[in-house]
Symmetry: C2
C-alpha cells in the first residue's frame, strides 16, 4: 500500500518557507515512503529545496501567490480559500490529491477552512486542537481541546477523548492509551456537571480503545502517568499557556540568578549543555 | 489606634505547630504592634513559644484538643466548629476577640466554616480563594478565585476584581492596582459571555479604586504587567496548578540534566545558590 501524500502549506508560520521545507525534509529522512505536495510560492519553494535534494525527489509543488496572514480573521481568510496556500493545501485533501494537510499558519483560519472544506468524521461534532507535550516519563502527553471551541459539553468531551486516544495510538503504538479528564480534583464529586457526566459516560462505555482513568489535575499533566488529557477549549488553553509561561518564567529567573554573581556565572558556563534543556524541553536527559 | 489581634489556628497545615508559631514570630518581628491569639494544644504551643520569647510577649493562648483533619469533608468539619482550633480561631473573629483568623489547614473546611460564621461583606455574594505569586517585575501578582466556587457569573467576577484590588492596595500601597480578567485571548470578542459581560461592567464602572486593563492570557500572569488576575474558581485552579506543576517539572528536568554528566555536576555544585531559587521562586535575584 502506498502512503497518501501530505499537503504542506509552505508559506504559513512565523518562520515561513525555510522552516516548513526543512521540517518536511526531516520527516522524509525519518520515513522514506512519505510524499509531499508543497503549496505556495514556487520560486521560494524551489530555492528551499536546493538544500534538500532528498525531499525534492519526493515532492511536487503547487504554486500560488496568496497567503493567509497571521493576524487575519478566520472569516476574512475563508473568502480566500481557493487562492491561499493554506486553502489549497486543505483543498488537496478534499479532492483526494493528498491524505493530510499541514500548516503552521493562522490557527483560527486553519480550523475554519478545514472544518468547512472537510467536515468532521461521522460521530464527531467538532474538531479539537491538540498538542503533544513532554513528560518526566517515557511518553509524551496529548492534551485537547486547546481552544478550537470555547465551551464543550459532555458529548464533546467524550468525542475529544476518542480522538485523543486515536492520535495517541498512532503516535505511540499503545493499544489502550490512558485517558483522563482535566479537573480541579480527582474525587468523583469534583468539577462541573458536564465533567462528571463525561466521566460517567467514559466509565460506562465499552469497546473504546482506551483506558479511562478518571480525572487529572493540571499539576500532574507532565508526570508521565497519563497519555491523553481531555478538556474544554477554554481550560485547555489556560492550562497550555500557563505551562508555556511558567517554563519561560523559570528559565528567565534562572538566567537572571545564574548571571547575578561571578560564582554563579562560572556555574552557568560550565553547565550550559544542561541549561539548553530548558530551551528545548522536548529533549530528555538520561 | 491599636491593631486588632490575629487569631491563629496553630494546629493546621502539613507542618503543624512549629511552623505556625515560627510564622507568627516572623510577622511579629516585622510588625511590632501585632498581637496574636494562638488556638490549639496549649502544651505544644507553649513549647513552640520557648524559642520565640518575642512572640510570647504578644500572644495569648486559647486551648482546645480538637483539630480538623487535612482530608476531612467540609460538612464533617462544620459539625465541630465549636471544638476545633480552626473553628475557634474563626469564632474569635465573630465575637470580636480577634480582627482576622489565619489557618494553613484544610481549605474546604476553612472556607465553609468562615462563610457560615462570618458571612460575606454587604455587596459581596461569595468568598474567593486568592494566592500571591512572584513575577519577573517588582510586584507580586494576586490571582483569584482559585477554587472556592467552581463557576462564576459576571457579577461574581466583578466582585472578585474589587476584592483582589483591595487586597493588592493593602499589600502594595498602590492606589489603583492593575486588574485583568483571565481569558484565552486579549481581543474583546474572546472567551465566554460572562467574561465579556464582566469586562464591560468593569470598563463602565466609575469610582472603583482599580485600573481595569482588559484581558490577560495565562502565559502573561507572571510578567509583572498586572497586579490582580481575576478568574472563576475552575480556571484559576487549573492555571495555579499548571504553574506549580510546570515549575516542579522544569526543576526536575534541570536536576536530571545537571546530574547527568560529570561536567554538569561541577556546574550544579558551583551554582547551587542560583538553583535554590527554583525551590523558592518567591525570592528574587537582583
Amino acid at each position: 500500500m502506498s502512503l497518501p501524500r501530505i499537503a504542506i502549506d509552505a508559506m504559513g508560520g512565523d518562520e515561513g518557507v525555510r522552516v516548513m521545507i526543512s521540517g518536511a525534509a526531516e520527516a522524509r529522512r525519518r520515513h522514506d515512503k512519505f510524499k509531499f505536495l508543497l503549496v505556495g510560492d514556487e520560486e521560494r519553494i524551489k530555492r528551499g529545496l536546493d538544500s534538500h535534494p532528498n525531499l525534492r525527489a519526493a515532492a511536487e509543488i503547487l504554486h500560488c501567490d496568496d497567503v493567509v496572514g497571521g493576524d487575519e480573521k478566520p472569516t476574512q481568510a475563508l473568502r480566500r480559500a481557493k487562492t491561499t496556500s493554506m486553502g489549497l493545501a486543505i483543498n488537496a485533501v478534499k479532492t483526494g490529491d493528498a491524505g493530510a494537510a499541514l500548516s503552521a499558519g493562522n490557527t483560527g483560519a486553519l480550523m475554519a477552512m478545514a472544518k468547512l472544506a472537510l467536515r468532521t468524521m461521522p460521530g464527531i461534532d467538532r474538531p479539537a486542537l491538540a498538542a503533544l507535550m513532554p513528560t518526566l516519563g517515557d511518553n509524551d502527553v496529548i492534551m485537547l481541546d486547546l481552544g478550537a471551541n470555547t465551551e464543550a459539553d459532555a458529548r464533546n468531551l467524550v468525542q475529544y477523548a476518542i480522538m485523543g486516544a486515536a492520535y495517541s495510538r498512532i503516535l505511540t503504538g499503545l493499544e489502550q492509551p490512558r485517558v483522563r479528564l482535566l479537573n480541579i480534583g480527582t474525587e468523583e464529586s469534583k468539577g462541573t456537571d458536564r465533567l462528571r457526566d463525561a466521566a460517567a459516560q467514559l466509565q460506562a462505555a465499552t469497546g473504546l480503545a482506551l483506558s479511562f482513568d478518571g480525572f487529572v489535575e493540571s499539576d500532574k499533566i507532565n508526570r508521565g502517568e497519563v497519555d491523553v488529557v481531555v478538556t474544554d477549549g477554554f481550560s485547555g488553553n489556560i492550562a497550555l499557556k500557563a505551562i508555556e509561561g511558567t517554563a519561560r518564567f523559570v528559565t528567565d529567573l534562572l538566567r537572571r540568578a545564574f548571571t547575578s554573581s561571578i560564582r554563579s556565572k562560572v556555574g552557568f558556563l560550565v553547565s550550559r549543555p544542561a541549561t539548553e534543556l530548558l530551551r528545548h524541553p522536548g529533549g530528555k536527559a538520561d
